[in-house]
């Protein structure tokens, strides 16, 4: 038994889960800032991204060092590769949270459309659920749970489409036009967070089966 290798793998996975928890905090923060039009909180979310980035870099360096010294193979290699990919997906999710926070700051003094704000909060809640499911399914090596992310993603995609229609319907109003355009981007960010959660699910399936496959065909 290669004790030191196993300890390092466990440590990497623990760091990855910590990074996931940070991303969830960033997402909740940017959703609250958006809902309350709170520019101060938006600034906090933007600054908070440094913590995610530090964890991201620490995991990246840990993987580099482990690969150089331990030459993992088979399931250990797949585990390291999965962590490498998931690390990047989580970091991108946090970047989307920063974008949402920045967009919030740009329009924080514009009166929002209540229906649209609710729809975005709903999308954000779904994105939170997807991140948690992605992290849990990876930790538990649960492919079935990972595959359920596809259905969850369809719901978030549908919500995104509804938001787009809603924005189109208010675009004639000059007071709401800029706000609406910003919210279009917010909606897109939340939708992309869902896509990254599905990508994490695919890494879980790869780790367990040894075969990488996309859960859905992006070309259709």
């Amino acid at each position: 038994m290669r004790v030191s290798l196993q300890q390092e793998l466990d440590q990497l996975e623990a760091s990855l889960q910590e990074e996931g928890a940070l991303v969830l905090r960033a997402l909740r923060g940017c959703l609250n800032a958006l809902g309350r039009q709170d520019a101060e909180l938006a600034d906090e979310v933007i600054a908070f991204d440094d913590e995610v980035d530090e964890t991201y870099v620490a995991i990246e360096e840990g993987i580099q060092s482990l690969l150089a010294r331990q030459t993992p193979v088979a399931i250990d290699l797949r585990n390291v590769l999965a962590v490498l990919h998931i690390n990047l997906h989580l970091e991108r999710m946090a970047d989307y949270c920063v974008t949402v926070a920045k967009l919030t700051k740009l329009v924080h003094d514009t009166p929002p459309d209540g229906t649209l704000t609710e729809a975005l909060e709903d999308m954000g809640t779904r994105a939170e659920e997807m991140i948690q499911t992605a992290l849990d399914s990876f930790a538990n090596r649960d492919v079935e749970s990972a595959e359920s992310l596809v259905d969850m993603d369809e719901l978030i995609d549908a919500a995104n489409r509804r938001v787009v229609h809603q924005i189109l319907s208010i675009s004639a109003d000059p007071d709401l036009r800029e706000w609406g355009l910003r919210m279009l981007l917010v909606s897109r960010c939340l939708e992309r967070i869902g896509d990254h959660a599905v990508d994490i699910g695919e890494q879980t399936a790869f780790l367990v089966s040894g075969q990488f496959r996309e859960f859905t065909d992006a070309s259709h």
Binding site: M1, R2, L5, V73, A74, D76, R78, S209, Q211
Partner: protein, 280 residues
């Protein structure tokens, strides 16, 4: 048409891909082979094919029978009085253990390199010329010696001192000399029993590079304790393990597959436990 992949990616992919089984030429067809010493089996019921111009690696823990197995390919076990080989090994479809087979001719066609370099206490030249002289292959002996030393990537280092004693060479050079000695009699197969385990990392890399070049002309079978070495050089890898039955330990073949499969997604849990270091 593939418009996204670059030519470099395509070349890399092709280099790693093996020809499909139906296009492979079988050099050794091993069927239900059991080898016993003094009545107790050291290796049981092994069946596998070794393919032409492939590097095939045997890996496994000590006592799993991999060295016993590789010695069957050139009938080295004949030299052990109480060794009994059952089952069949077909070499180019001919029974290697058939009654009319000349063991000396077998060992000319199927050369062997051992763990510890074992040059004769003679000159560099005489070491390489020894086999051809014994076998009467003396036409253009100088040319034959030079070709073998070139093939073994040793020529440039020894061309000005061919008459010097072989024992004055470094360990890595001695091992390449032993490879040249095998190549001088124009074999078909090279068997290597841990050929780099007594060498430093630089010499090991040279031997591995050499194997990569030699497989264009020869079929190579290697036993190695160094799993990363198998991962680097072998096209196919066979994992052997120890099975204990009624208190008797014997070697068994657990899994035989393309090397990338063995080291990325082995099919058998025992293989995975061994290659990941969780064995035992």
């Amino acid at each position: 048409m593939n418009i996204i992949e670059s030519p470099v990616q395509v070349a890399q992919q092709q280099a790693r891909e093996l020809p499909p089984p139906e296009q492979r030429e079988v050099v050794f067809d091993v069927s239900d082979l059991t080898v016993s010493y003094g009545g107790s089996p050291a290796l049981k019921n092994v069946s596998l094919d070794v393919y032409k111009n492939f590097v095939t690696a045997f890996i496994g823990p000590s006592g799993c029978g991999k060295s016993t197995f590789i010695r069957c390919f050139n009938r080295m076990n004949d030299l052990i009085p109480n060794a009994v080989v059952e089952g069949t090994i077909l070499y180019h479809r001919q029974d290697l253990y058939g009654p009319d087979v000349d063991a000396v001719e077998v060992r000319r066609r199927i050369g062997m390199v051992f763990q510890k370099p074992n040059p004769f206490p003679k000159s560099i030249y005489d070491n390489v010329a020894f086999g051809p002289r014994v076998l009467g292959m003396t036409d253009d002996l100088d040319g034959r010696v030079e070709r073998a030393l070139h093939q073994a990537a040793l020529w440039d280092e020894v061309k000005d001192r061919l008459k010097d004693g072989a024992l004055g060479l470094s360990g890595g050079q001695q091992q390449r000399l032993c490879i040249a000695r095998c190549l001088a009699v124009e074999p078909d197969v090279l068997l290597m029993d841990e050929p780099a385990s007594a060498l430093d990392p630089i010499s090991t890399t040279r031997i591995e590079d050499l194997m990569h070049d030699l497989k264009r002309e020869y079929t190579i079978v290697i036993v190695t304790h160094n799993m990363q070495q198998a991962a680097r050089i072998a096209d196919m890898t066979a994992f052997f393990s120890v099975q204990i039955e009624n208190g008797h330990r014997s070697g068994v073949l657990v899994e035989y597959d393309a090397t990338p499969a063995i080291f990325t997604k082995p099919a058998d849990k025992r293989t995975e436990d061994y290659v990941t270091g969780r064995f035992g």
